[in-house]
């Protein structure tokens, strides 16, 4: 093993001038069983870095709800709108029919009242004749 080389690389490593490949060489060197005793002190550093890379994010991310929430809100809104228009229209037609019926009933009642009034008129005409009786009666009384 070229210990010289490793030492040189270490020096470069601490000056932060090593390339990725050179760092991999160091990583590999420190991951083996036998490490020169005077370099042993650096071992935790490299083992730690490779260990740290093994940590995983295991939590589940709840992605669905928010997205679907909006989708269903719009579906519900459309449904409410359609129902509103449909039943609203029906209600309006119903109202119109009612109004027509009321107008018809009004006309009919008016006709009935007119008929009544006409007949009343005829009644008073007949009653006017009674006046003649009264006049005749007076004449008779006066003559006696």
């Amino acid at each position: 093993m070229a210990l010289d080389n490793i030492e040189k690389l270490l020096e470069k490593y601490f000056e932060a001038t090593t390339t990725m490949a050179e760092e991999r060489v160091l990583q590999e060197y420190f991951s083996q069983e036998e490490v020169a005793t005077h370099l042993e002190q650096y071992r935790p550093m490299f083992t730690y870095f490779s260990k740290a890379k093994e940590e995983r994010y295991t939590k589940q991310v709840p992605l669905k709800p928010r997205k679907n929430f909006y989708k269903w809100i719009s579906v519900a809104a459309v449904a409410v709108l359609t129902f509103g228009i449909y039943f609203g229209n029906e209600y309006r037609i119903q109202k119109q029919v009612e109004r027509e019926q009321a107008a018809y009933a009004y006309q009919e009642t008016k006709k009935a009242f007119e008929l009544l009034a006409e007949n009343f008129g005829r009644g008073t005409e007949k009653v006017a004749y009674l006046q003649e009786f009264e006049v005749a009666k007076q004449k008779i009384y006066n003559n006696n």
Partner: protein, 169 residues
């Protein structure tokens, strides 16, 4: 974009987002929350996602900004006290159980680095990003990245040497 497509795009780098968040926020729960937040934000933008040429870089930058914001707001509020209390406890507990474990020692060294150094170290030595990518992600100049990386590595080395010689002596 359908959910399945989205997951296909996101799957390869969601662990990277989580690890970066954890590097910055330390606590596992906080990092999980942050990752979820970022993924949901991405999902809400999924219509325009095709326009981004590099979704991964975009997501990493989002994560970085989100975590830094979290840290800032934590420092401003009382949360920081609570949080540092929590980690302190944790560390002392860990110290008892795994005092000899060099990995947890490394973890602790990493925790005490400044944020910039944490991020550069995370991106380069853990995730193996190229320098150009790191520049883009962190919005830093290439020379600054190198300097920061070098400082971070040296800081770690110093702590390790301290610990090592302490172990021997």
């Amino acid at each position: 974009m359908k959910q399945a497509e989205f997951l296909n795009v996101v799957m390869p780098f969601k662990d990277k987002l989580y690890r970066l968040a954890k590097r910055l926020l330390v606590s596992r729960e906080e990092a999980e929350d942050a990752t979820q937040e970022i993924l949901l934000k991405l999902w809400s933008k999924n219509e325009s996602m095709a326009e981004y040429k590099n979704v991964e870089a975009f997501a990493m930058t989002m994560t970085k900004n989100f975590c830094l914001d979290r840290l800032k707001s934590k420092q401003a509020g009382n949360l920081k006290l609570v949080h540092s209390n929590y980690t302190d406890e944790n560390v002392s507990l860990q110290r008892q159980i795994e005092a000899e474990d060099s990995l947890s020692w490394m973890e602790r060294i990493m925790e005490h680095l400044p944020e910039q150094q944490k991020m550069v170290l995370q991106l380069r030595d853990v995730e193996h990003y190229e320098f150009e990518e790191i520049c883009e992600l962190l919005d830093m100049k290439p020379t600054t990245v190198r300097v920061t990386l070098s400082r971070a590595r040296k800081a770690v080395r110093e702590e390790l040497i301290k610990k090592h010689s302490y172990g021997i002596g």
